[in-house]
């Protein structure tokens, strides 16, 4: 590895090391009253990492490739349900179920991509068709017996490394962090590859890319498949963390929105965008909930989401390249 190559990965390694060291700060954060206890901290961090992973998936097709999906729930949900159903109905081990969940998510991505891209859907049309597919999956999952229908699927609690269920909350934190770390590095590899260059070319000007000999259909298909597979892993991790899925969680619009908000707020088409966006969104959302709770004496539903929406509008208005763009240049456009 030449020094130039190492330099490209140094920020990623530093970020991973910093996140990995976070548990050391837990006693201090809890002591300062920021978190009720270590579990609150870990639950929040694990949720942020799962959303980061889903957003990292979205960022590949949406950020680098410019294909704005409004239906990544289709992939998240497929991963989540596969992870749950394989264990409960087919007795598959959790670790063995994970790659299958990932592959199934990728397959769903490839099929939706093939249909949409062959029909030459772009922009608003692509957004709408992905949204519709996610809704079809949601309605089907709510009505078919294999997914447990409206009651959902409960994964039995069996603590043990072999079941991917851990007693110590830090263990699941490191598991989720490992996946995020792998995708951070994968993202950088992608950026520096020929495929990554083609993908960006498709985003910038698809017709020009095709004229220059880029097989745009294949490039977009590969991107949506990889994108879907990563988001499916996020779904599978969600199942392992909460041990329960139903149609509104797995295929709900909420995850499609979170998966696209995080990269856009953080910095679309960048390695760190999804991570920074997820931390900013969920962090600010939690802060708003706490402040409102203190001000009104009771929890008010929807406050965190109001913050998400406002943040999205503000970022688009004043920092189109996201928080990362703001950090890099100290200014917007």
């Amino acid at each position: 590895m030449s020094s130039g190559t190492f330099a490209a990965y140094r920020p990623i390694l530093i970020a991973i090391a910093a996140l990995a060291a976070l548990p050391l700060a837990v006693p201090m954060l809890v002591g300062a009253g920021l978190f009720a206890g270590p579990n609150t901290f870990y639950n929040l961090m694990i949720f942020i990492l799962i959303i980061t992973l889903a957003a990292q998936g979205w960022n590949i097709a949406g950020g680098y490739g410019g294909q704005f999906s409004f239906g990544h729930a289709a992939f998240f949900g497929t991963g989540a349900y596969a992870q749950a159903v394989l264990q409960t109905r087919y007795g598959v081990n959790a670790w063995a179920a994970l790659p299958v969940a990932m592959a199934l998510g990728g397959l769903v991505g490839a099929v939706i991509g093939l249909l949409a891209f062959r029909a030459r859907l772009r922009g608003s049309y692509f957004a709408l068709v992905t949204l519709a597919f996610a809704e079809v999956f949601r309605i089907l999952a709510n009505a078919t017996p294999i997914t447990g229908g409206a009651a959902g699927t409960l994964v039995p609690l069996r603590i043990g490394f072999g079941q991917m269920q851990f007693d110590a909350p830090a263990a699941f934190f490191y598991l989720a962090l490992a996946f995020v770390a792998v995708v951070l590095i994968l993202n950088r590899l992608l950026e520096r590859s020929r495929f990554g260059a083609w993908l960006v070319a498709v985003r910038e000007n698809e017709d020009a890319a095709r004229a220059l000999g880029v097989d745009t259909l294949t490039v977009k298909l590969k991107a949506i498949t990889l994108s879907a597979a990563i988001t499916a892993v996020a779904g599978a991790l969600y199942t392992q963390k909460f041990l329960y899925v139903d149609a509104n969680i797995a295929y709900g619009a909420w995850i499609s929105v979170e998966a696209l908000l995080a990269p856009i707020v953080g910095g679309i088409g960048t390695v760190f965008g999804p991570l920074i966006g997820a931390i900013a969104l969920i962090g600010l959302g939690e802060a708003a909930k706490t402040v409102i709770h203190a001000a009104f004496g009771s929890a008010v539903p929807g406050v965190d989401l109001v913050v998400y929406g406002l943040l999205l509008i503000v970022v688009i208005a004043f920092a189109p390249r996201g928080l990362i763009g703001l950090l890099r240049t100290g200014g917007g456009r």
Binding site: R120, L131, G302, L305, I313, A317
Partner: protein
């Protein structure tokens, strides 16, 4: 799974589908109008419908205004709201870039929906009116009175909207901007003003739709989502930007929903709509009436 029904029940399902479809068409009209002129999907459309439905609720519970009378104050109010939203929020925030407009309207929908959730909580509410359960007896079928009224008013509004576009100077300017933005601005049309007027008209049709829906429907902060997905389907089916397409598309979708509900049951009934949505997008993205992709 498929049962056979006597023709009368099927006929009644078709008629009810047409009645619902007219309101779908009305919701879709605003969406298609905005798409035709600004060439973007307004993702806040559903949330704005929810807002309008809550406005009807508050007007009735707070001021005792009948939902049908509420059309008079709410329509201009929502026109102003839509106008302001486009002129002072969407346009400046997105610098009229397509992708950015899409995301700003998504942001607005999240904000509106969750502000309503924070204020009204997630409870489902409905109005109790003397005529909520009145029926019209056609001899061969019984139809709900509020839905018959909804059908009639929706058609009148569609005709009015068509007249505005076809006969007035503003309508002419809207059509000019839709066809050729640059050319329109060169002949002295204020494009930003026309964008905002279009958005205002879209919001105004939602106010009417909300007034027509509330006597026979319920409202909660998420109710608009169900309508907007149907409205997307209607718009795609009818051809993005086509008023006649939205009208026919709305009626078709209403009937499809009613019949698939009859034959597939409540939970799977909605599948029919989305399958049409996906099939049209994949095989005929210009819709039935659209001219270009």
């Amino acid at each position: 799974m498929f049962r056979s029904y006597p023709p009368q029940i099927v006929l009644e399902a078709v008629l009810n589908g047409l009645l619902t479809g007219a309101v779908y068409a009305l919701v879709a009209l605003g969406l298609t109008l905005v798409y035709g002129v600004l060439h973007i999907i307004n993702f806040a459309h559903g949330a704005m419908l929810t807002l309008a439905m809550f406005a009807v609720l508050v007007a009735h519970l707070g001021f005792g205004i009948d939902p049908y009378l509420a059309i008079l104050p709410l329509t201009p109010l929502f026109f102003a709201f839509g106008y302001g939203l486009q002129r002072f929020v969407i346009s400046p925030a997105s610098r009229n870039d397509d992708g950015a407009i899409l995301l700003v309207t998504l942001g607005l929908s999240i904000v509106i929906e969750n502000l309503l959730l924070a204020i009204f909580r997630s409870d489902t509410r409905s109005l109790t009116l003397d005529y909520s359960f009145s029926v019209v007896d056609l001899g061969f079928a019984l139809l709900s009175l509020p839905r018959v009224i909804g059908f009639g008013v929706a058609l009148v509004v569609a005709a009015a909207l068509w007249a505005i576009l076809a006969l007035t100077d503003t309508g002419k300017a809207i059509r000019a901007v839709a066809k050729e933005k640059l050319g329109a601005s060169l002949v002295g049309i204020d494009v930003n003003h026309i964008y905002a007027v279009t958005f205002g008209l879209g919001a105004a049709t939602l106010a009417v739709a909300a007034c027509l829906l509330m006597p026979s429907f319920y409202v909660n902060p998420r109710v608009g989502n169900a309508f907007v997905l149907v409205a997307f389907t209607v718009v795609v089916l009818g051809g993005m930007g086509s008023i006649a397409g939205a009208l026919v598309g709305g009626l078709v979708i209403g009937v499809v929903e009613s019949l698939s509900g009859l034959y597939l049951g409540e939970s799977l009934g909605q599948i029919g709509i989305f399958l049409i949505f996906i099939l049209v997008l994949l095989f005929r993205p210009t819709g039935l009436f659209g001219a270009k992709a």
